[in-house]
Every structure is written in structure tokens, then in C-alpha cells.
């Protein structure tokens, strides 16, 4: 094995890795990023083909266990109530995402102080506010100021994306109920914005390729900037170990290249950005005599406190056509009426309801939002009843951290290169179940108020594990956290984690803006303290 010496090597080219790479390279550091996947092509995406929905169920499924692409690693989810969804490519899981872009609320960072549960983050909303703003400008966010549910901020770069008939009805229902709602913040262009990126043409399925490049993803937002700043990006690089010296300091990483050859990449600082699953896996894989339970794991918390966003789904069926297949499928408006803690509801913390549109024929039949349609004699009538006649409210709850929810190494599964796969062990507690049931009741009430003739509820969406959080918790106490408030390992000072693994709590909101804001914040901390970890000023 041999390789060059860099200031920084980053593992993972997704939302957080891209942001950190750009920031550090722009400041003059020599940065290499190793990505397990490859660039995606925009020339032949499924959305350009008639069989796009077939691709969504197979080759472009969000689950690596169903997709089974050569660049993927399997995930043992046999003990997980929520199944993992992720993508391995330049851009990571933003390649497939729906592009919701909400910021966490100030209270999300201080749940121990405010509600007596879990832990406070060692940082506050205000520490990230400027990074949120900068990230919004780079990614491109459509939305509107004035939301009473969130702190004031700079104007969004773009006006909101188009609503749809379902949003008209549900928004009016929210108003009659006296509930909070606002147009969703989304990382989707409502006008041309960014280099080579056009405006959304409302095609619908953002997850099967946006040749217009209206829907943001890290490969078309941060990566062009990062490459221009000098980042060296190595694709098809499957990292399997963080290497250390005799003092326990990180010296770089070992990886298999596209040909299966083991290689080493040395750097003064190692940054992990492989999501809450991949990062925990890599920390577990990096065992030594000094760290028999995995590197950076003196607290025993690596892999623990896995959080998702448990989601119930409520679908309103309307008598008139809704045309929910028009417009970005996952985004329109949201309600945070039940977001903050109100113990009279019977649970602590809260949830958000997001109005999503609907699917094409396959998605309707297999149960993209509403449950799968029945087979047999009643199937075709059921299809006619719901197709083009639905809108759905997701009930997205906060998922408080519990150490028994965790990522470990699988005893049975390995990837194509023989590297042990991660195993997710995950269940819901009663507080979360109560939140979902309350949310189903709220969403049902909203749809009835909106005039839906039928309402269908699903208690828990199994394939909702896009948000992989908490497995390398941030904190000031090395005995109760994995990284410090600047995302540096307590045990290994030149090892950082900048993805969702560091989240102390999950909030009840899509995490990507916060993940990227934390990555930028952590990168700035490294730049400030670079001398202490061996990076020349």
C-alpha cells in the first residue's frame, strides 16, 4: 500500500463531505475525498424513460438491500423496524432525496433544558445560523419569509415552488382549524439558480433523476465548487479502516480501489462523512490493540443512539381529481402546529406534518404513500378510486435517543469486498408511538376538514430510514459522547465526524440543512485550530 500525504482526507462525498471539502480546500488546505460510489449521469436518468417507475422499484430503489448495485454495501436490517435508505455516489443520498430543507428550531438543540429529556446539544441554533444562511445560498432554497413557527432569517434565494390542488384544500383546512402551516422550504429551483441549473418543470418524481438539475444534490451544488477549489475526488474507493500510529493518532485511511486493490491514503486529519450508518460501521471496523472496541469509542457510544424520523402516513382520498403527480412529489406545505412539547397530549416533544403529493400508477399500486392496494377482484376498482385522487400528510416525529437503538457489525452479512456489513438494531418507544397516533388523528382531522371522502392511515412507514443520525454523538463530556462540540473525536484529536452521526437529538425535521451547517461549522473550527492537529497554517 502506498499513497500521498494530504492535509485532510474525507470519507464520503455526500451532503456533509462535499460541504466540508469545499470549505477546507477554499481555505487552502490540500484535501482528498474518497467516495465509495461514482458520479451519476444526468443523460439517461429514469425520469426520461417510460419505465421510470419500474426503475424506482428496482435499480433505483432507495434501499441498498433491494437495489443491490455493485457499489452498495448491504445492511442487516433484520432487527430494525425502520429500513435503511441511502445511496452511494458523488452526492450521496441527496441523489435520491425529496429535497425538503427545513432548519431545526432553536428548541431542538436544548431539549434537556426545555423538556427534561435526552441531552442538550453543546451548541445552539445561533451557532449555526450563519452557516444555515450560507448553505441556503450554495444549495439554492425556495421558500418564503414570515413563518411564525421559526425564527426570522435572511430571505430565501428563491420564491416557493408551485402548490397543487391538494395543498389548496389542506391549507384552507388548516386555516379553518386555526393551525400553523407554511409553505415548505425546499432545495428545488423555482427559477434558474446555480451553474447550469434550470427551474423545476413540475415533472414529479425528484428521486429518479432531475435532468433539469432544478432539484439540488451535492454533486451539482457543492462539488463543482469543491473541485474548482482543488479538492481531489477519488470515486469507487471503498474505505475499510482508519489507520493510526502508535500514539493512537489517525494517520489516514485504507481503502479498496475500483480494481479491488488495497490502498492507503495518508493525511494529517481524517474526516468521516459517511452518514450515521457508514461512519459507525467504519469506526467499528477500525479496531486495534489500543482500541479493541473500535476507534474513538472509549465512551462505548459509537453506533449507539441511532435515530431516524419515525413516520406515520395519512392519505386523504378526494372525489375530484387532485393531480398530485404534478410537482415535486415530496414537498408542498407543512404544519408545525404540534411541534413543541405539550404534555397534555400525552407525550413529550412533537411532530411535523408535511403534505406530499402523489405517485404515478406503479407508486399508487405498490403503496408509495397510501398503503399497497389489494390484489384480486377489488384491485382495479381500488386503483381507480385512489389514483389521481389523493394527497398525503406525513406525520414525522422526533425520535429521542436510546442507546439500545444502535449500529453494530453484522455477524452474517458482508459486502462484495468481504467487509462486514452494518447491522441496524432499532425499535420505537411508547412516546414515539403515542406521537404517531396523535399525528394520525390530527392529519385525519385535517383531511376531513379539507373535504376528503375517505382517509387511510398507516401507523409506521417501514421504508423511511433516510435519516441516519446520532451514532457518534456530540458533547463536552468524553464519557457520554464520541466527538466534541467541534466534531473532533475525544479520543483521537485528528479524527472528525461531520455527518448526521454527531446529532445529539434528531428534531422532527429533515436533517440535511443542519447536517451541512454543522459540516461547515466544523470545517471552520478545524481551520481555526489547524496547527494543533498538524496542518500547516
Amino acid at each position: 500500500m502506498s499513497g500521498p500525504q494530504d492535509d485532510v482526507v474525507i470519507v464520503g462525498a455526500g451532503a456533509s463531505g462535499a460541504a466540508a471539502a469545499w470549505r477546507l480546500a477554499q481555505a487552502g488546505l490540500k484535501v482528498t475525498c474518497l467516495e465509495q460510489g461514482d458520479w451519476v449521469s444526468y443523460a439517461d436518468v429514469p425520469s426520461l424513460r417510460t419505465d421510470w417507475e419500474l426503475a424506482r422499484q428496482t435499480t433505483h430503489h432507495a434501499s441498498p438491500n433491494i437495489r443491490r448495485a455493485p457499489v452498495d454495501y448491504p445492511v442487516d436490517d433484520t432487527e430494525a423496524a425502520i429500513k435503511p435508505l441511502l445511496y452511494n455516489a458523488v452526492g450521496g443520498s441527496t441523489i435520491l432525496w425529496g429535497a425538503h430543507f427545513p432548519r431545526f428550531r432553536p428548541s431542538d438543540f436544548k431539549v434537556k433544558t426545555l423538556d427534561g429529556v435526552a441531552d442538550d446539544w453543546p451548541i445552539a441554533y445561533e451557532d449555526l445560523a450563519a452557516y444555515y444562511e450560507e448553505n441556503d445560498r450554495i444549495v439554492g432554497v425556495a421558500g418564503l419569509n414570515g413563518d411564525p413557527g421559526n425564527p426570522p432569517r435572511e430571505p430565501r434565494p428563491m420564491a416557493p415552488i408551485s402548490a397543487f390542488r391538494g395543498a389548496d384544500r389542506v391549507a384552507a383546512a388548516f386555516d379553518r382549524l386555526g393551525w400553523h402551516w407554511w409553505v415548505s422550504d425546499v432545495a428545488i429551483n423555482s427559477r434558474p439558480y446555480g451553474e447550469g441549473r434550470g427551474a423545476c418543470n413540475n415533472c414529479g418524481p425528484c428521486d429518479v433523476g432531475c435532468p433539469v438539475k432544478a432539484r439540488a444534490s451535492a454533486d451539482i451544488t457543492y462539488w463543482p465548487l469543491a473541485l474548482a477549489a482543488g479538492v481531489r475526488l477519488v470515486t469507487n474507493a471503498r474505505v475499510f479502516e482508519i489507520e493510526t500510529d502508535r500514539l493512537g493518532r489517525a494517520t489516514g485511511v485504507a481503502y479498496y480501489d475500483a480494481a479491488g486493490q488495497a490502498r492507503r491514503h495518508r493525511a494529517a486529519v481524517v474526516i468521516l462523512a459517511a452518514n450515521g450508518l457508514g461512519t459507525a460501521r467504519l469506526l467499528h471496523l477500525s479496531r486495534s490493540a489500543r482500541a479493541p472496541n473500535g476507534i474513538a469509542n472509549s465512551s462505548g457510544l459509537v453506533g449507539r443512539n441511532l435515530m431516524h424520523h419515525p413516520t406515520g402516513m395519512v392519505t386523504g382520498v378526494f372525489d375530484e381529481p387532485i393531480e398530485g403527480y404534478k410537482g415535486p412529489y415530496a414537498t408542498s406545505i407543512k404544519s408545525q402546529q404540534f411541534y413543541e412539547t405539550d404534555l397534555s397530549r400525552g407525550f413529550v416533544r412533537g411532530y411535523q406534518m408535511q403534505l406530499v403529493r402523489s405517485n404515478g400508477p406503479v407508486g399508487t399500486a405498490v403503496g408509495g404513500y397510501q398503503p399497497r392496494l389489494p390484489w384480486g377482484a377489488g384491485h382495479h376498482a381500488a386503483f381507480r378510486r385512489v389514483f389521481n385522487h389523493t394527497a398525503s400528510l406525513t406525520v414525522t416525529t422526533e425520535d429521542l435517543p436510546r442507546p439500545e437503538n444502535r449500529v453494530v457489525l453484522s455477524d452474517t452479512l458482508k459486502d462484495a469486498w468481504g467487509i462486514p456489513a452494518p447491522k441496524m438494531i432499532y425499535s420505537l418507544d411508547q412516546n414515539t408511538k403515542d406521537m404517531i397516533q396523535h399525528g394520525i388523528g390530527s392529519a385525519t382531522r385535517a383531511f376531513r376538514e379539507a373535504g376528503a371522502s375517505d382517509v387511510i392511515a398507516e401507523d409506521l412507514v417501514a421504508y423511511a430510514g433516510f435519516h441516519l443520525l446520532g451514532t457518534a454523538k456530540m458533547g463536552d463530556d468524553p464519557s457520554t459522547s464520541v466527538v466534541d462540540r467541534f466534531c473532533r473525536s475525544h479520543d483521537v484529536p485528528n479524527l472528525m465526524v461531520v455527518d448526521g452521526s454527531v446529532f445529539v437529538t434528531a428534531a422532527a425535521l429533515n436533517p440535511t440543512p443542519t447536517i451541512q451547517a454543522v459540516a461547515l461549522y466544523a470545517a471552520d473550527a478545524l481551520l481555526r485550530d489547524r496547527r494543533s492537529v498538524g496542518v500547516a497554517a
Binding site: D51, P106, D147, E323, V362, R372, L373
Partner: protein, 144 residues
């Protein structure tokens, strides 16, 4: 299991799932069994489910076929669910079926891109009521 007998069994099973009606075609008339067997991502669950059915499944009467399928669903819900997803995916991505969907719903049986759809711009007037409300978020405690 890709010979004529298994394919006949699979086709019969798919016709139970998607029997057709006055509007939609029965699965076998659009060649769904062949479509599934020709697709790498759909063949495996289809063959796995068909392998759990008795060889004489295709010769059962309609009621017995339905009962056999229901029994398989009860016994192996995960496998059966994957089979149903494969069947629906293949069926509703078949051009002949998409033509029916278009004719009966107005949904365009074409790729989403590059044409997309026209929608009016977002109307900020929609937000008049919520915009009039006081702040409802809790500020950071130590800075409030």
C-alpha cells in the same frame, strides 16, 4: 424455473392478482409473466413465489386459486409482498396498461421528463392567515 410449465403457473398466479375488469386488462393479456421473468429485479420474487405454489395451481378452479394465493400470503407475507410489488411494478409500467390509465384518468402515459407539467406559480396570498399569527417557536433558553 423458467420453462413453459412454471411460466404457465406464474401467469395463472398473476391473473389472480390482476384479474382485469371492464377497463383494465387481465395480467396475462399484456404478457406480464414474460415481462417479469425478463427483468432481473422482478424475476427473483416472481419465481420465488411461484415455487411455493403447487404444480397443479394453474389447473385449479378460480376460487381454489384465490384461496391458494391467500394461503401463501398468510404463510409467507414478506415473500408474497415482494411478489405483489413485482407484479404491480411490471403491470403498471406496461405500455398497454399505461394507455388505459391515460384514457381513464388524464395522466399522461409518457416519461415525466423532459416535458414536465405546467402548474401556476405559488400564490403568497395563500399565507395570509398563518402570516398573521404570533411566533410559535420556543427561542434558545439561555439567550431568551
Amino acid at each position: 424455473m423458467t420453462g413453459p410449465l412454471p411460466q404457465r403457473l406464474l401467469s395463472a398466479a398473476l391473473d389472480v392478482l390482476l384479474p382485469g375488469d371492464a377497463t383494465f386488462p387481465v395480467a396475462s393479456t399484456v404478457g406480464l409473466a414474460t415481462r417479469l421473468l425478463d427483468h432481473p429485479g422482478l424475476a427473483e420474487p416472481a419465481l420465488a413465489a411461484a415455487a411455493r405454489l403447487d404444480d397443479g395451481f394453474a389447473d385449479l378452479d378460480a376460487a381454489a386459486r384465490i384461496e391458494a394465493m391467500a394461503a401463501l400470503e398468510r404463510a409467507e407475507p414478506t415473500l408474497f409482498g415482494r411478489f405483489v410489488v413485482a407484479a404491480y411494478s411490471g403491470y403498471y409500467s406496461t405500455p398497454a396498461v399505461l394507455e388505459v390509465v391515460e384514457r381513464t384518468s388524464g395522466y399522461a402515459a409518457r416519461p415525466p421528463q423532459p416535458e414536465g407539467y405546467d402548474l401556476p406559480p405559488f400564490d403568497p396570498a395563500m399565507l395570509a392567515v398563518p402570516a398573521s399569527r404570533p411566533p410559535s417557536y420556543r427561542p434558545t433558553p439561555e439567550r431568551s
